[in-house]
Amino acid sequence: MPKVTRLFIKSGFIYLFLGIVMTLVAELPQVNTSALLLPVYWHMIVIGWVTQVIMGVSIWMFPRRKRSRENIESVSVLLSFWTLNTGLILRFSAEPFIPLFHGNSAIVLVVVISSLLHIAAVFFYVIEIWPRVFTREKVKRKKQ
């Protein structure tokens, strides 16, 4: 399993743990902020866990045209991991406070940077995976 896949899956487990703990916290009768936490724990589970595991496993399992070390740990894959996780950390640290500090320039800045990092992460992932989704016939035709 390539190092970057391990990074995706291990950080995925951390988000799964945090997400499930947050759902538990939101259920406590003393907590009046369930609505603020709802988008946070949903995104922790859907992006942090599900999407990261899909990304990590697909980077590992999808066929490569060339089997070399630099293809396993390509720049786009590493950029995808770091932009996604930085974006998620920024998002989760700012999103619950948006309704409390609406329009605050620091919160807006963090949210905008986080959004751009999410888009960048998907862009780098698609750049990596798109050329690896191909038919065997296409490879045979190229070899001839």
Binding site: V46, V50, T51, I54, S58, P63, R91, A94, E95, I98, H102, G103, I107, V108, V111, V112, S114, S115, L116, H118, I119, A121, V122, F123, V126, I129, W130, V133, F134, T135, R136
Partner: protein, 138 residues
């Protein structure tokens, strides 16, 4: 990888890009109020992320990786899976149009119907491939 999987997976990547773009716009909108009507995009974000991306990627990968038949066509009725791709994605587009355009036409129902039909076809065509090659088959 079979051509059907190639296109199903590529379409799922396209839906992932769209879902992320919509989600990012909504996140910014939450902080700075870009346009009051922007929240109408929220169901599009869910539908594209869950159906367009996650479910469709799983379908494309399953069609590629599940055990193949030892006799006849390796992956079962191939043309049917092209119909799955067409019905699922057209249905999803019609569903999204239904969220944006509240017309007299039952767009959401039509879209959901097409997606349901495509999933049924997919299930039928994949059912026999959920198996073991060993002689002690279950």
């Amino acid at each position: 990888m079979p051509a059907q999987s190639v296109w199903i997976i590529r379409l799922s990547l396209a839906w992932l890009s769209l879902a992320t773009l919509i989600g990012s716009i909504l996140l910014v909108h939450k902080a700075v109020d870009l346009q009051p009507a922007m929240w109408a995009l929220l169901p599009l974000h869910f539908e594209t992320a869950i159906w367009g991306w996650a479910v469709q990627l799983a379908m494309g990968t399953a069609y590629w990786i599940f055990p193949r038949h030892l006799v006849g066509t390796k992956r079962g009725p191939e043309k049917l899976v092209w119909w799955v791709l067409i019905l699922f994605n057209t249905g999803l587009i019609i569903l999204l149009a239904g969220y944006l355009h509240q017309s007299v036409l039952p767009l959401k129902l039509t879209g959901r119907g097409m997606m349901t039909f495509s999933v049924i076809i997919f299930g039928i065509s994949m059912w026999s491939r959920v198996k073991s090659y060993s002689s002690h088959t279950n």
